[in-house]
């Protein structure tokens, strides 16, 4: 690594420090409360799984049944952890890429508190049985305007930063963030308005619900994860993104196809057949952006894959990008009628949802958080061992969850497709895998406890004060030059463009 790519000018360093200071409070707030919600979500993942496998476990209170706990788990995972971690990522990345300070950090902090307040109200409401039972849109009706409003405030401040930007070129990460900032309110408000309209078509409400679920993943979780990956991989590799046109192709193909997905969840459902078919086909076309991203990032990292041994950020991010590929592949598979008839409504489809949110998005978000927080707190992570623990328990845990749910889904769905087998056979065949999935969620819960602990230490200013970054297997890092490469802030020309 040559001197001039790792050494930034004094002014650059000052500017970066000023930017990091300006976003510090909102970003840290979003990350820490996200990590707390994540821990709640994973614990609910374990408990809801136990109640699904054995409903007689524990007292027979209605608020402890699977039908109440499962939506709490998914909502804590999506709106509590996922979206808040995403807000933190969007704000920091946008400020850095635009090379501009955040002017309204108080507004964002207030927005963050309102978001958490809305979530908590919704959570209690669902627990008491006021939920809508429409997956991922379960919050009682009065909650969504509050969330939509908060989101718009956050979006506006991102757009403001973008319009004030100092750097000339348009980075691919910025495109993804602007996309996510503008698409989500559109999707969220459309879905809620149409579903809550009393006179609307009952069937289309269910269809729009499915459309919302897949659009939330493709138009929010995927763009944020890719924005972070397109920032972090080149930074750590110390070279620009391999091909800008390829990155743009990935972006626009996602933008073109993702809006058509979703209805294939109800293949064979009470919709005009073209709707489910178009959705299935669009899901297959999503393979194109997935391939573009994978190719681009692996070329960017070519020859330097070893960096992932030491850099937590790169290791989590690479795993997440790989999982995006797997997610796109499995989703495309279920979009076909053949595999779809076996896996539809089985544990497998739920497993694929989980893969998108935890395997893909969350892993990239972890990587980005490990990268960002030392910069905004000016201290290092307390323990590399704990990061290593977080990585292995998370990645092993999520792969096990997915494995159990795919195989369990195949067993369950296969039994259901044999019309002359008793229905109850599909329940019995699926049940063992539910127990396996619970155990895997338990590993993930442990991993996230470690993550939350470290993040909380950083939050209260108890990070490690040190010159060098926290690495995994620090003693194994061959030379200080290599270690420097891991956290080196290349010049603006070097990163991302």
């Amino acid at each position: 690594m040559s001197e001039d790519t790792t050494k930034a000018s004094v002014e650059d360093i000052r500017l970066r420090a000023a930017i990091d200071r300006s976003v510090r409070y909102p970003v840290l707030f979003f990350f820490t409360s996200a990590a707390a919600w994540l821990f709640v979500a994973t614990v609910l993942g374990v408990v809801s799984g136990i109640k699904l496998a054995n409903p007689d476990f524990g007292p027979a209170w209605t608020w402890l049944t699977y039908g109440r706990l499962w939506p709490l788990h998914t909502n804590a995972l999506i709106y509590g952890w996922g979206m808040q971690a995403g807000f933190g990522l969007m704000i920091w990345l946008m400020a850095r890429l635009c090379r501009t300070e955040l002017r309204n950090s108080v507004t964002l902090l207030v927005a963050g508190h309102v978001w958490n307040f809305g979530l908590s109200l919704g959570f209690i409401g669902m627990w008491m049985g006021k939920g809508t039972s429409l997956p991922w849109l379960e919050f009682p009706t009065f909650v969504w305007p509050l969330l939509a409003l908060t989101y718009v405030v956050i979006s506006l401040s991102l757009v403001q930063m973008f319009r004030r930007r100092r750097s000339g070129s348009l980075f691919i990460s910025q495109m993804y963030i602007i996309g996510a900032a503008l698409w989500f309110p559109w999707i969220f408000i459309t879905a809620n308005l149409l579903i809550n309209n009393e006179g609307g078509s009952a069937v289309m409400k269910a269809g729009i619900n499915a459309w919302f679920m897949s659009n939330l993943v493709y138009f929010w979780f995927v763009p944020i994860a890719l924005a972070a990956a397109y920032y972090i991989v080149p930074k750590i590799a110390g070279r620009p993104v391999h091909s800008y046109p390829l990155a743009k192709l990935g972006f626009w193909s996602l933008a073109l196809f993702a809006g058509w997905t979703g209805f294939s969840r109800y293949n064979g459902g009470p919709f005009p057949a073209w709707m489910t078919s178009v959705s299935g086909a669009a899901t297959i076309f999503i393979l194109l952006p997935a391939l573009a991203v994978w190719l681009n990032l692996s070329k960017t990292l070519a020859g330097q894959k070893k960096l992932a041994d030491h850099s937590p950020a790169l290791r989590f991010t690479s795993f997440g990008v790989l999982m995006f590929g797997l997610f796109a592949l499995l989703s495309a598979l279920v979009g076909f009628y053949g595999p779809g008839r076996l896996l539809q409504f089985s544990h497998a489809t739920v497993g694929i949802d989980t893969l998108g949110i935890y395997g893909m998005f969350s892993m990239v978000a972890f990587g980005a958080i490990y990268f960002i927080v030392p910069r905004i707190t000016a201290s290092e992570w307390p323990s590399g061992k704990m990061i290593n623990f977080h990585f292995w328990f998370s990645s092993y845990g999520i792969l096990t969850v997915i494995g159990f749910m795919l195989v369990g889904g195949l067993a369950q769905g296969g039994a259901m497709d044999r019309w002359n087998t008793d229905f109850i056979a599909s329940v019995e065949l699926g049940n063992g895998y539910v127990i396996g999935r619970c155990m895997a969620w338990f590993l993930i819960a442990l991993a996230n406890l470690a993550f939350f602990y470290q993040l909380a230490l950083m939050f209260i200013g108890r990070g490690r004060k040190s010159e060098g970054p926290t690495l995994i297997h620090a003693e194994g890092a061959k030379s200080s030059a290599e270690a420097a490469g891991i956290t080196a802030e290349g010049g603006a020309a070097n990163a991302n463009a």
Binding site: L52, A53, N54, P55, D56, A60, W61, T62, T65, Y66, G67, R68, W70, G129, T132, S133, L134, P135, F162, R163, R165, M175, I178, G179, W183, W186, T190, L194, S201, A202, V203, M204, K205, G207, I208, N209, A210, A255, A258, G259, N267, G268, G269, P270, M275, Y337, G340, R341, Q344, F345, S346, H347, T349, V350, M416, D417, W419, N420, F423, I424
Partner: protein
């Protein structure tokens, strides 16, 4: 200035890419399908009047039951959607409605008329409920199954909704509505389990699930049973 026009260009591109599916896949079908009204039968159908839908009234027991179905999260394990034969074995499982008269069929948009939203469902841990009103006609069975599923189906993994029932002491004669629980599922002697109005409402809702009305103008003459049901 350049920044601003670049932002507008990007925003326009994003809006067009997403606006097209938003309009064609969501808004237009929503408006069109919202206009569905109960259809009249033709002479060839052999049925009088309009397609019959559950007699749902605001504040009535079916609508209370529907709200409970949402509140308890039944849709996480039960679908209400029968797939055609190319997309699944649902109809062979007898989920397509009455078998007599060859009327078992997949569900279609008009079947959900009157539902506040179609509970198409999320997973199938339990069986499809589109036509449970035809399969399970015994009120007492449904009530007992809600209270204690495993007293009727040993391998079931459905939670028992004890909150929908009252456990109370009785003197002398048991109430008529008390559940007939046996063995280890029975309450202590001198106690009985009676359904609350909520449990009754949920059962009313389940009994109203009959999504197989003969299709007007389909040229598929209705069987006697269907005729009787449709003109009820």
């Amino acid at each position: 200035m350049k920044n601003k026009s670049e932002f507008s260009q990007l925003a326009c591109g994003l809006a067009v890419a997403f606006g097209l599916p938003w309009l064609l896949l969501v808004v237009v079908p929503y408006v069109k399908l919202s206009a569905i009204e109960p259809q009249a039968y033709t002479e060839a159908d052999g049925v009088e009047g309009l397609v019959a839908y559950p007699a749902k009234q605001i504040g009535g027991s079916i609508s209370t039951g529907e709200r409970l179905y949402d509140s308890l999260g039944c849709a996480y394990c039960h679908t209400q959607m029968v797939r055609p034969t190319y997309a699944g074995a649902d109809m062979w499982r007898g989920w397509g409605g009455r078998k007599e008269g060859g009327l078992a069929r997949e569900t279609r948009p008009a079947d959900y008329w009157g539902d506040s939203h179609a509970m198409l469902g999320y997973q199938r841990i339990g069986p499809d409920l589109s036509n449970v009103g035809w399969r399970r006609t015994d009120r007492a069975w449904l009530l007992q199954h809600l209270y204690s599923p495993r007293s009727l189906i040993r391998e079931s993994v459905m939670p028992g909704y004890e909150g929908l029932f009252t456990l109370r002491k009785f003197n002398g004669q048991q109430s008529d509505s008390a559940l007939k629980l046996e063995g280890k599922f029975a309450p202590e002697t001198g106690y009985e389990v009676v359904p609350t109005p909520d449990a009754e409402a949920l059962v009313d809702y389940l009994l109203s699930r009959k999504k197989d009305a003969p299709i007007p103008g389909s040229g598929n003459p209705a069987g006697d049973e269907a005729k009787a049901a449709a003109s009820e």
